[in-house]
């Protein structure tokens, strides 16, 4: 099945009088497959919102091509817009209109049946607040209203910029379930731009990370995390005195293996597989009490890839993320190392990937 969204070489430069031009998009590529929840991540100022705005025809681009449902946009956007629901940068509404009237006017303007208004109010949990004026809504309620208007058209493609912004924990949970239901049960393709990385990790099937207007990496969330987690193992023993002996045993068995004692554990790198460690130690008469495959979460992978990890005594400035060379292909996602060192290691890795 062809991608729902295809973006190639997208460029956008903001030019202002008496200021340096700013390349918001510098040859960005993006592909989103059908029926997935796709995360679109990047540091502040990396071009996420600019990309979404360009896709939706709100801004003109200086180069590159964009396609949605195979149709070139923005030229043919009017033909496909009926299949797209979108929220860009927390849209504001007339403060004195009720939530219901806001949705009714949008529905009427696009010929959407009136029944859809009540349906989306129910779906987003705004049924009881529908009569109230928007000025009395909290940030989270306004966000729900924004998502409700995006759902009005029963879209095949849902584009959401920071959908969890302002939502309470129950709201975030509800939103996650709703989006996953839409994607996996209803076949809706969902693109989510967010800075809540733990949320993206739980919600998204695939993702694209961008920096300074270019793609750094894309692929399945699990594979990207696994691909950047390395193969380090944390090994503990019933008796801490065994640590030096165990390190020697491993290094002697395979010189390329690294074994470093850290407090009450041994950190092993370069081991072919977890089972090799347990076997080698057992052969040396040393029995371990715990073996854990050390995996990273999305936050640490993101910070590493974008070069925005905070350094002691320094503040990372906006726009100081990693620059991707002009000719660089997106980072290949290595095949994940599958830990087979027992149920504990596997559970930990899966937990991290979830």
């Amino acid at each position: 099945m062809p991608p729902i969204i295809e973006i190639s070489g997208l460029r956008k430069t903001y030019r202002r009088s008496f200021r340096q031009p700013h390349n918001a998009l510098d040859g960005l590529d993006l592909e989103v497959a059908a029926g997935q929840v796709h995360g679109f991540l990047g540091p502040n100022g990396s071009g996420k919102t600019t990309t979404l705005r360009a896709l939706l025809g709100l801004i003109r681009v200086d180069g590159g091509t964009m396609r949605i449902f195979g149709q070139e946009v923005p030229h043919r956007l009017p033909e496909v817009v009926g299949r797209i629901g979108a929220v860009v940068e927390s849209p504001q509404f007339f403060k004195h209109f009720s939530g219901r009237l806001t949705l009714q006017l949008l529905a009427e303007s696009a010929g959407v049946p009136k029944e859809r208004v009540e349906a989306v109010l129910e779906q987003t949990g705004l049924r009881d607040a529908a009569k109230s004026a928007v000025k009395g809504y909290s940030l989270g309620m306004r966000q729900r209203l924004a998502v409700a208007q995006a759902l009005l058209k029963q879209p095949e493609l849902l584009i959401l910029d920071e959908p969890a912004n302002g939502l309470d924990p129950a709201g975030i949970h509800h939103m996650r379930e709703l989006l996953q239901w839409l994607a996996h049960e209803q076949g809706v393709t969902v693109v989510v731009s967010s800075h809540l990385l733990s949320e993206v990790q739980q919600l998204c099937d695939s993702m694209t990370i961008v920096s300074r207007g270019r793609r750094i990496v894309d692929g399945s969330v699990a594979e990207i995390i696994a691909g950047h987690s390395g193969a380090s193992l944390s090994v503990r023993f019933p008796d801490a005195a065994s640590l030096p002996e165990a390190a020697d045993a491993l290094v002697n068995a395979k010189p390329e293996v690294g074994a470093v004692v850290e407090r009450d554990r041994l950190v092993v790198t370069g081991a072919p597989e977890a089972a090799w460690v347990t076997r080698t130690l057992a052969d040396a008469g040393i029995y371990l009490s715990e073996l854990v495959t050390q995996t990273k979460n999305l936050e640490s992978v993101f910070l590493e890839l974008t070069g925005t990890a905070p350094q002691p005594g320094q503040t990372v400035q906006v726009g100081q993320s990693v620059a991707v060379p002009q000719t660089a292909a997106p980072i290949e996602v290595p095949v994940a190392v599958t830990p087979d060192a027992g149920p504990q290691a596997g559970t930990e890795a899966e937990e991290a990937q979830r």
Partner: protein, 340 residues
């Protein structure tokens, strides 16, 4: 059509529309009430008698007047009033009346204040006044309908729903102009009905013949077009500035500072007909149909001043050109500029 209807409904449901609507209705009703309270068909016998008594009382206290009334040869004997004998205005007056006029006696009319509202004479100009105020309010409403959408972020959201910007702009403009036309027509009809009612109850309706209807309809029609033009201008300025305050600021700025500059320029430049620099002159010509500007004398011996005639078609061409220019700029801007 759905978009147009939704935009019309959006304007109708705005709180500003409600507030302006109430204020305009209250204004028209208030005008009728004031006219009804000050207009009378004429003093009754008792009021006339009371006024005459007051005038007589005052005259009794004026010795010159008393001398004049008592002395039939007062004007002949008194050099100061010798001219009365020859002034044609005093021809046919009784001696007492001549004394009242020349020496300054009091009349019953001095103690009566009566105003009779004549609809045929004054009605059309009052209706035009109501329409101009309604047009100004509609201009604010039209600019707010565009400006508030931009400043609230609602415009971007609407553009996500309707990416064809010309269609969106057309629907918004159409809705603003329709609301303006409906508002102006309703207020003009209400003003017409109330003023006729006031005239028939407390004044004079006058003669509403074919000529009156023709003149009045022309006046009202041109004022209605002016109101639509103002709405279009307000909406276009709001689209260009992307804020209601920009439109309001430009218009208020012109009305205050612009006119001041025009007056200063006209005083310091030795140009003929400096009034033509002011838009008010052209607006006046558009509404009344014709305006004459009187200039200086052409020569030393020629006592006939230059006259510049501005007709409604001249004024329409200039004012229409200005409005269409801003509308075209707004259209170009909306089509080309990024949504912030």
């Amino acid at each position: 059509m759905n978009l147009f209807k939704a935009e019309l409904r959006r304007i109708a449901r705005r709180r500003l529309t409600l507030v302006f609507g109430i204020l305009l209705l209250a204004g028209v009703v208030g005008l009728a009430v004031i006219l009804a309270s000050i207009s009378t068909e004429g003093p009754d016998e008792a009021a006339l008698a009371e006024a005459q008594a007051q005038a007589d009382e005052m005259n009794e206290q004026n010795p010159d007047y008393l001398d004049c009334v008592e002395d039939e040869s007062y004007f002949e004997d008194n050099e100061m009033y010798g001219w009365v004998e020859t002034d044609p205005e005093y021809e046919g007056m009784s001696h007492k009346e001549a004394c009242e006029h020349a020496v300054g006696g009091w009349w019953a009319e001095d103690f009566l204040w009566t105003y009779t509202f004549d609809f045929a004479d004054e009605g059309p100009f009052l209706i035009v006044g109501v329409m101009i105020v309604a047009g100004l309010v509609m201009m604010l409403l039209g600019s707010s309908a565009i400006g508030a959408e931009w400043s609230s972020g609602g415009m971007s959201n609407l553009m996500v729903w309707h990416p064809n910007r010309m269609r969106l702009w057309g629907a918004k403009l159409g809705a603003a102009l329709t609301a303006c036309a409906a508002g102006v027509v309703v207020l003009a009809a209400l003003a017409f009905g109330l003023l006729v009612l006031v005239a028939s109850l407390r004044g004079e309706v006058g003669v509403l013949n074919g000529v009156w209807w023709e003149d009045t309809l022309e006046l009202v029609l041109r004022t209605g077009v002016l109101a639509l033009g103002m709405t279009l201008l307000g909406a276009s300025l709001a689209m260009l500035g992307r804020h209601t305050a920009i439109a309001g600021g430009v218009i208020a700025g012109y009305l205050i500072i612009g006119e001041l500059i025009v007056n200063m320029v006209s005083m310091n430049l030795s140009m003929d007909f400096p009034e033509r620099l002011s838009l008010y002159t052209w607006v006046g010509a558009w509404i009344t149909g014709r305006i004459e500007l009187v200039g200086g004398y052409t020569g030393f011996n020629d006592m006939t001043p230059d006259v510049m005639v501005i007709t409604w078609s001249d004024a329409g061409a200039l004012l229409g050109g200005i409005v269409l220019l801003f509308a075209a700029l707004a259209t170009w801007s909306f089509q080309r500029r990024d949504a912030a």
